[in-house]
């Protein structure tokens, strides 16, 4: 029976790393459970995106940080093999140390010589209690961290937005001349905001479990897709970054929870 030759495909690794705040405050109002659920629920969709991108090997890791930072998943794990073990909350917020752990892994070696841009997702509900600046400086000294897509999700309203913005890097929209509204010149906005002033270049505000799940799903599917096998391009996609980020998920009306935050 003749068949198409069984050839090995060219591919590159895509490292996806979660940095999860497990401080004591995450225990409040079910935030920790909501994050565990959101990540676990997002895995099938992430596996599907990985399957649709045979030129990328999507490898997932996770760091948890509280009193200290530790690798929660130390081994770069193919997403289809990943089983999410629940994170537990308790302690303070060693975010700086978490960045140091990631920095060490983004050095070459252990990073491969050739790869797709890594995706780093920082999720936090509070403020760092250690030397965040030192950790960030160490991270951003690594060329792979500079090339990485860095996203941040603020869980609830007590997260330190400024710290999360520093992790992401400067928001290009914020650098417009004073008084100028993005897109007012008639050109497309540099970042598509989904109509609510949100931008993936700013911390994503997850005020309830539904929104948190949406952002986690977006980061693990749409962003992974954009960093590995890009989707269609349209006019106005030229952005300041090395990876054009996909649209944020639309703001959905939640038929049940449309009464304001229920979980916290």
């Amino acid at each position: 029976m003749p068949t198409f030759p069984n050839v090995r495909l060219a591919n590159r690794p895509l490292h996806f790393i979660y940095l999860c705040d497990c401080s004591g405050s995450m225990a409040a109002q079910g935030k920790m459970q909501a994050l565990n659920q959101a990540i676990r629920q997002s895995l099938p969709g992430m596996a599907r995106v990985a399957r649709e991108n045979p030129e990328a090997r999507v490898l997932v890791r996770a760091v948890r940080f509280a009193d200290r930072a530790h690798w929660h998943i130390a081994e770069p794990t193919p997403v289809e093999q990943l089983q999410w073990q629940d994170l537990q909350a308790g302690g303070v917020t060693a975010m700086g140390e978490a960045l140091e752990l990631v920095a060490a892994q983004l050095a070459s070696p252990p990073m491969e010589e050739r790869a797709l841009p890594p995706v780093l997702v920082l999720i936090s509900d509070g403020q760092p209690t250690d030397d965040f600046e030192a950790g960030l400086a160490l991270l951003l000294r690594q060329p792979w961290a500079q090339k990485a897509v860095r996203l941040a999700i603020a869980v609830g309203h007590d997260a330190d937005q400024e710290v999360l913005q520093q992790f992401i890097g400067p928001d290009p929209e914020a650098q417009l001349p004073a008084g100028e509204v993005p897109g007012a010149s008639g050109e497309m906005p540099r970042h598509r905001t989904g109509g609510s002033g949100r931008s993936p270049r700013r911390p994503l505000q997850a005020s309830n479990a539904t929104t948190l799940a949406q952002y986690i799903q977006w980061a693990s599917t749409a962003v992974v897709g954009a960093a590995s096998m890009p989707a269609s391009r349209v006019d106005g996609d030229v952005s300041g970054s090395n990876i054009p980020l996909p649209d944020l998920p639309p703001t959905m009306v939640d038929m049940v929870e449309d009464v304001g935050p229920v979980v916290w």
Binding site: A10, P54, R114, K147, S232, D235, I243, D247
Partner: protein, 447 residues
């Protein structure tokens, strides 16, 4: 997954006399969500756009309306059937406050898989089915371009294949536009975008479709990207600026006849080193043309008609290796190499038995089919309706016959001159056959 349209709901839309039953969400992408729906007893697919997609593509609605009015260029397109705008009552039921719209199209039949499944090596196809898929793809684009339309965004992502037959379906026809009118904002998919579009020197149209089409055919035939060779090896982080260099600023075809800078690396890019040599020079020449001078001069890209001819002739030259059974496509007639050998096992291929038809010479190999266009160049190919098929004898696979798949008798002359009739459904032994008369023309056996 949060679905904008509630699943298992009855929704009314402007212009529809009966409510639409939304059965379930099928999938979502960067532009919108796709649902399975039922309308007046018929199962259909509905694509609903995300607000951000509508906001940045202001001509989307008018383009769709024009496409719906124009109807599908061929059966290979899952073409938009009707534009759906929600009534006020429906809008209130949607889980998205911003108003939106969508369109109805045919449901993808079972058995079709994303072309990416073939690219990723997860479905088994024979080479002839891959070639057939490429041929149907060029037929579809030929029909589209002949109508003065262009597609703008063809890629592996919007092509579906039926592995058993090589039939294709093209979806996401919402960027289709009148060539040159430029009502739209899509530029294409990275890796498939023509260099002049990527570099902002031109707008997408039929000429850039020819580049994207060639990339897609190359990727289907070789399971590799035509521009990823040694120059990609030098790139550490494959991001947007790197892609711009590789595909826009300085694109070099990995098999360019002169520029050797971007040859495949045996370690990193093993696939094209195996697959490219399988195809005949005539087919390779179209890639060398499109990805050579055609990169800088869009007018020099291979045309859909040239692809149709080259792919069709390649299929007609299919031979099976007597040793390993693999499909080979060596040139025949005057261009035939002295002693062609199998790309897979190196066995020298014996001179084949050829069928001479009014418009083609076809090598007799099990599974090869004959179509109306082999008899009459003005006939469309009708891939799903062959009038004859080369078959192996059920108990002796070495014995080849020609099965009458037409609706009428064949008058056959055997080698000794005896005349027999072969009724529809019957097969006659090619080794005994001199010529046969079909209702469309004469077939002679050349030894």
């Amino acid at each position: 997954m949060t679905w904008i349209l509630p699943e298992n709901s009855q929704l009314s839309f402007e212009g529809l006399s009966t409510p639409l039953h939304v059965l379930k969400g099928l999938g979502s992408g960067s532009q919108g969500q796709v649902y399975e729906v039922e309308l007046a007893g018929e199962r259909l697919a509905l694509k609903w756009y995300l607000p951000a997609c509508i906001a940045r593509d202001r001509q989307l609605e008018s383009r769709l309306a024009a496409a719906i009015g124009a109807t599908a260029p061929s059966a290979s397109f899952l073409w938009p059937i009707a534009l759906l705008r929600p009534t006020a009552a429906t809008q209130a039921q949607l889980r998205c406050r911003e108003s939106g719209f969508g369109y109805l199209m045919g449901l993808r039949p079972p058995g079709f898989v994303g072309a990416i499944e073939h690219y990723g090596g997860r479905v088994d196809l024979e080479l002839r089915q891959v070639l057939r898929a490429c041929l149907e793809l060029t037929d579809a684009f030929h029909a589209l371009h002949s109508r003065g339309l262009c597609y703008k965004d063809i890629s592996l992502g919007n092509l579906f294949l039926e592995p058993s037959s090589g039939r294709i379906l093209i979806c996401d026809n919402d960027n289709v536009d009148v060539d040159g009118r430029d009502l739209g904002s899509v530029l294409g998919t990275p890796g498939f975008i023509a260099p002049e579009i990527l570099m902002g020197r031109a707008r997408p149209g039929a000429n850039s479709d020819l580049h994207s089409l060639a990339v897609l055919i190359f990727r289907l035939l070789t399971r590799h990207d035509p521009f990823r060779g040694a120059l990609e090896r030098e790139i550490r982080c494959l991001d947007e600026p790197a892609r711009r260099r590789l595909y826009g600023e300085d694109p070099v075809f990995i098999f360019d006849s002169e520029d050797q800078r971007n040859r495949p690396d045996p370690e990193l890019h093993p696939a094209p080193l195996v697959t490219w040599p399988i195809y005949p020079r005539e087919l390779q020449a179209l890639f060398l043309q499109t990805f050579g001078p055609g990169l800088r001069e869009p007018g020099r890209r291979a045309l859909t008609g040239q692809w149709q001819e080259a792919l069709s002739r390649t299929l007609d030259r299919r031979q099976l290796c007597p040793s390993c059974g693999q499909e080979n496509f060596p040139a025949i007639g005057a261009d035939a190499p002295a002693a062609p050998s199998c790309w897979n096992c190196g066995t020298v291929l014996p001179p084949p038995l050829e069928l001479e038809l009014p418009c083609a010479r076809v090598v007799a190999a099990t599974g090869t089919t004959l179509h109306r266009h082999h008899l009459d160049p003005l006939q469309p190919p009708q891939w799903d309706a062959p009038f004859a098929e080369v078959v192996a004898h059920p108990s002796d696979p070495q014995l080849l016959g020609l099965r009458n798949a037409s609706g009428s008798d064949w008058e056959v002359t055997l080698l000794q001159g005896r005349q027999i009739t072969v009724a529809p459904g019957m097969s006659c032994n090619l080794a005994a056959l001199r010529e046969l008369h079909t209702d469309g023309g004469v077939i002679r056996v050349r030894r």
